[in-house]
Chain length 268, copies 2
């Protein structure tokens, strides 16, 4: 699977209409699930190596429109990892205390420690997305924030954290179907908010804000535009990208200072 076609190249201007939402990589659902299962043992091994080594961290940023599949990705992709080494951070509407600080303050506090995979379900990018769409910040502030974000990410990378950012890309029709499902199933009513419709009406404004954010992609801190209409392909593609990165990080079980053969465990 060539995952590089889904990566935004450094300096590339993103126009989301050119990026498919319903790409399935040539797989059907059944094949996709079998492939995903076959990746899980390898993912588990490389995660354990990362954890055991304790020298590098991996930070995953998940962004999407409402019903774009962030929660589903956390459940199905990151649910397959050992929870001892995964830290999920859900960034919701900022609290009063969070708003009393710079916008990266609450984000920085949740940066994963070495050995851990940190998952940001929403992230610092909300501060150039929802704020932008609702004109809470002007163009100049947005531009500065994007620069601050790039500097912040570069600092994390220097400190031993690798970063991958996923934009889960769905079509307006797919969002409609998913929101309708929440209305149709009484057990899903709680996931629906009337506010979702107001946000949906700003589809083109969100597109513009996302395109600007995605265009800051670099080789070290890349954005991937994940075709996300098919949940099963979304999960497979993200897992594949994660596995490739974990392998490239090449974490090693640490050497130990004792000689295991010489140690006798006494009976009690």
């Amino acid at each position: 699977m060539n995952t590089d076609q889904y990566r935004v190249k450094s300096g590339q201007k993103v126009s989301l209409k050119d990026w498919a939402t319903d790409d399935d990589g040539g797989y059907d659902k059944e094949e996709s699930k079998i492939l995903l299962d076959s990746l899980e043992a390898e993912l588990a091994e490389w995660q354990e190596r990362l954890y055991a080594e304790g020298k590098q961290a991996l930070l995953i940023v998940l962004q999407a429109r409402d019903a774009g599949g962030k929660d589903g990705t956390v459940k199905h992709v990151f649910g397959a990892f050992n929870p001892n080494g995964v830290q999920i951070s859900n960034f919701k509407v900022p609290s009063e205390e969070e708003l009393a600080h710079d916008f990266l303050w609450r984000i920085h506090a949740k940066a994963p420690r070495r050995g851990v995979i940190g998952v940001f379900n929403r992230s610092h990018y909300e501060d150039v997305l929802v704020t932008r769409v609702h004109s809470l910040i002007d163009d100049r502030t947005a531009k500065h924030r994007l620069e601050h974000i790039q500097n912040f990410e570069a600092m994390l990378i220097d400190g031993g954290t690798q970063i991958i950012k996923f934009y889960l890309h769905i079509s307006p029709d797919e969002q409609k179907d998913r929101l309708q499902e929440r209305l149709d199933d009484p057990n899903k009513h709680w996931k629906f908010s009337e506010n979702d419709l107001a946000e949906r009406a700003k589809w083109p404004q969100y597109t513009a804000a996302y395109e600007e954010a995605l265009s800051t992609s670099t080789k070290d801190s890349p954005w991937y535009v994940i075709p996300a209409d098919h949940k099963w392909f979304r999960d497979l593609l993200i897992s594949r990208i994660l596995l490739d990165r974990l392998k490239a990080m090449d974490s090693q079980y640490p050497a130990v200072e004792f000689d295991p053969k010489k140690i006798k465990i006494p009976k009690i």
Copy 2:
């Protein structure tokens, strides 16, 4: 399955030699795995209800001797939950800043928010276990700490958090086998520490400290002594106890204020 036989009753004095480490509940490994699989869909539903309702939290405390199976329990039992609603906290040797505060300070900060299942992999009980065994605190301090712990837990419970505490009970021979496995498998060397042998040598002292801690069990904040020589029975028993508690918590999907039938999602 009668899980109540594994619960320490309020006021009950615990003598660990009377509690089996190799109980298998009458199941073999195969049956146990099938049963565990059959619980997972129900666990997932009740976890989702807890999360959706957002009114109650569940705090799980995991304590055990070295190689007792805490990490394995996190991986196999809590790995089956939706990671969006689970918060794992690993309490290691306290940092300088943590030691500069009272012993519950770092613990309180990790209390799960409502809707979430919090898992403490080690916990505030370390402060009456390892400290006790190494004579870092005297009897009087230990007694006071146990009182503070009980008061703290009562306060959490009053705030909407339910608590279940598991002591994973293994035999000295089982610990020996597991430590030996870490010495025999190069990919597990990093899990072994020579210090584990020094701790193992204090087996009776740990037994005494655990017995004292377990004897503080109450109906609202119970300790369960989990026979943990068989990992598969440990996972099954803990899952069963969790499911019973989640059902008793009886979380409900929240009622919504809109009429789902009247909402039309516009096309874009």
